[in-house]
Symmetry: C2
DNA sequence: GCATGAATTGTTAGCGCTCACAATGACGTC
DNA sequence: GACGTCATTGTGAGCGCTAACAATTCATGC
């Protein structure tokens, strides 16, 4: 750093210092092949000396590319959205894109639309919307934007390119597992009705029961929070001895609340009531007892979403389908079987 | 939408359609006062009809402002970083800025430096670095960047503007609480040595013990994960009956593992051993038993960080100090007292 | 009726870069 | 030795916007 000025140096400044034209500087920066080594060295030296950095806005204006993607998300402190967000950014970075995020407290048509406007004004070339609420899905289909949008967690129903974990399958896995373990019926504590994932999990649960010719018992509702699970758990405790032996809870946080309520009511898990969750948050393995749950591969969700979005942006035909479905995986732990291994000890 | 063309419409297109000059369009968009209502309406109508959106790059080039901030973070699926990230974005949005995030798997000098480069190429006007690892702090002080950087979670030692929750105070609160409850000694399960927050919590713990004239017992180390807490908990269980009655665990996830290990060893919490954590993750209230812990106000961290960064960007003297410290808060639950209220029931 | 100033609108010149093309020079071929 | 070819470098024209200034219109007072 030889001298510092008020205005940061431009490409022309560097060119002057190196004794070449600004275009040659551009070529060096762009890794253009036809530059003599000696010239390249001169230019690089000048860049180094002046601490030059290419101006983002000028570059973006000239190329008509910002190499920036947008992400709209909500509830980003929850494990699922946070993991998806992380995976999205990592995948985008691998493709040379930067990610601008808008995190909403509540996902409504209005907030979603404002978020898209904001990202649009921020020059993003495309957007991934983590939009598990059903209201948001409709909004996405209707809103007009000057860039492609890929939805995550909306289910595959809407007429929007989307990437989803197969929630229905996950619910069938969990419910089927409980039925296979000998339970006559499986109860369900569902998530909020306006979440597509909650709806899909209810349907998967119903399907698994139907397949086993079992009448579905009363459906309970929570709001994903441990507290709502705790309350539902208190209600469930009242049904022990009256046919309740197994519960499939729509997420791990609520399952935590259920476990606590059952324990307080003197109901043992899994001896009296087996409990399965959904998500496989890092804590689940250490619940009392460790929780059987369904794991979603968020890293893959992120990668596939970015791949799909870039296909759309580049105008190529999507290399896969524009409705991507990802298989979840059942993770069996002690909350459905008492004799399972301790945490941290790999089975077999 | 009357017609769609290949190139999106420019300001000049809108001007032509509205029968004014492009500058008038610019004035309307910029809410400039001196535009006749009638003219404004004409322009707005043309904008609406053509679906015009102002080009971000051109605007940024002309104004020399991108109105974008960068955030570098790691471990973003953990509750603390995720909450901070959320608060930062929300605060930035309130100030009219967009946030570009780079989420690192591991925070090293190299990855941090690459992240800053990347954000720099992305045209950010300033960066907030969530950099709790000590190695990263040094890197921040040394690296040269063409924009201001505010550090979060680095502790206030480094010569970089920073915002921190007072970890030392938090540890003193938790340890003091256990001592006040009658425990002769308080053990500590610490986080990794290269995390500043872990170091500060150890120091706070030591300070509280010193104040009570107590010799600190053996220090245990974990890596923040429930599994490491579980392992430490197994070790701790061996000390029950030999002077161990209270443990301050450096975060809630590890505390979860400790609770589980103690339970498995037949040690009751809090009757035999009291346990306190740190963070107040949403699950803590539903642990078995509900966990006493230290709550950090991430929303305030986010707001103060953005305020500080914008001060630096605008070149104004920071309205507060350039080392911001935020007080944490002790949350007492059943893991340190057996008679405390149930979850969700507000204390009288 | 015309000067005066304020309100409103238009004109011009960049912002700093990349792209397309032109120019230069070195080299080999017939 | 003229010519074609290729590698290397330079030139000019935007990209679409805002800022500064110039020009025009309009209301008002005497």
């Amino acid at each position: 750093m030889t001298h510092s000025q008020l205005r940061p140096p431009t490409m022309a400044d560097v060119a002057r210092q190196a004794g070449v034209s600004h275009q040659t500087v551009s070529r060096v920066l762009g890794d253009h092949p036809n530059v003599r080594d000696e010239t390249r060295a001169k230019v690089l030296r000048a860049i180094e000396e002046m601490g030059y950095r290419r101006n983002f806005s000028a570059r973006a204006l000239a190329t008509r590319r910002t190499r920036t993607l947008g992400v709209v998300a909500s509830n980003t402190t929850l494990y699922g959205p946070a993991s998806t967000l992380f995976a999205l950014e990592e995948a985008a970075r691998a493709e040379g894109y930067l990610v601008s995020t808008v995190s909403l407290r509540r996902l409504t048509v209005k907030t979603l639309s404002e978020a898209l406007d904001r990202l649009s004004e921020g020059g993003v070339e495309g957007v991934v919307a983590i939009a598990p609420q059903r209201s948001a899905v409709e909004a996405l289909a209707e809103l007009r934007h000057p860039f492609p949008v890929v939805a995550v967690g909306t289910g595959s129903g809407a007429g929007v390119p989307s990437v989803n974990v197969d929630q229905n399958l996950g619910a069938r896995l969990a419910t089927g597992h409980l039925l296979a373990a000998g339970h006559r019926r499986v109860w369900h504590l569902a998530g909020p009705e306006d979440w597509q994932e909650a709806v899909d999990r209810v349907e998967g649960w119903r399907a698994a029961l139907a397949e086993a010719d079992v009448e579905p018992p009363m459906l309970l509702r929570g709001d994903w929070s441990p507290l709502s699970g705790y309350r539902a758990g208190q209600e469930l405790a009242g049904w022990v001895g009256r046919g309740l032996t197994a519960v499939f809870v729509a997420n791990d946080q609520m399952a935590l609340g259920v476990l606590r309520a059952l324990r307080e009511a003197g109901v043992r898990t899994p001896q009296d009531v087996a409990v399965a969750g959904f998500d496989d948050i890092p804590e689940s393995e250490f619940f009392a007892p460790p929780l059987t749950t369904v794991r979603q591969d968020f890293a893959t969700v992120g990668k596939r979403s970015i791949a799909l979005l870039l296909d759309l942006i580049e105008g190529r035909t999507p290399s896969g389908a524009s409705q991507v479905s990802i298989e979840p995986q059942l993770v069996v732990r002690a909350s459905t079987f008492p004799y399972l291994p301790q945490p941290g000890v790999a089975p077999g």
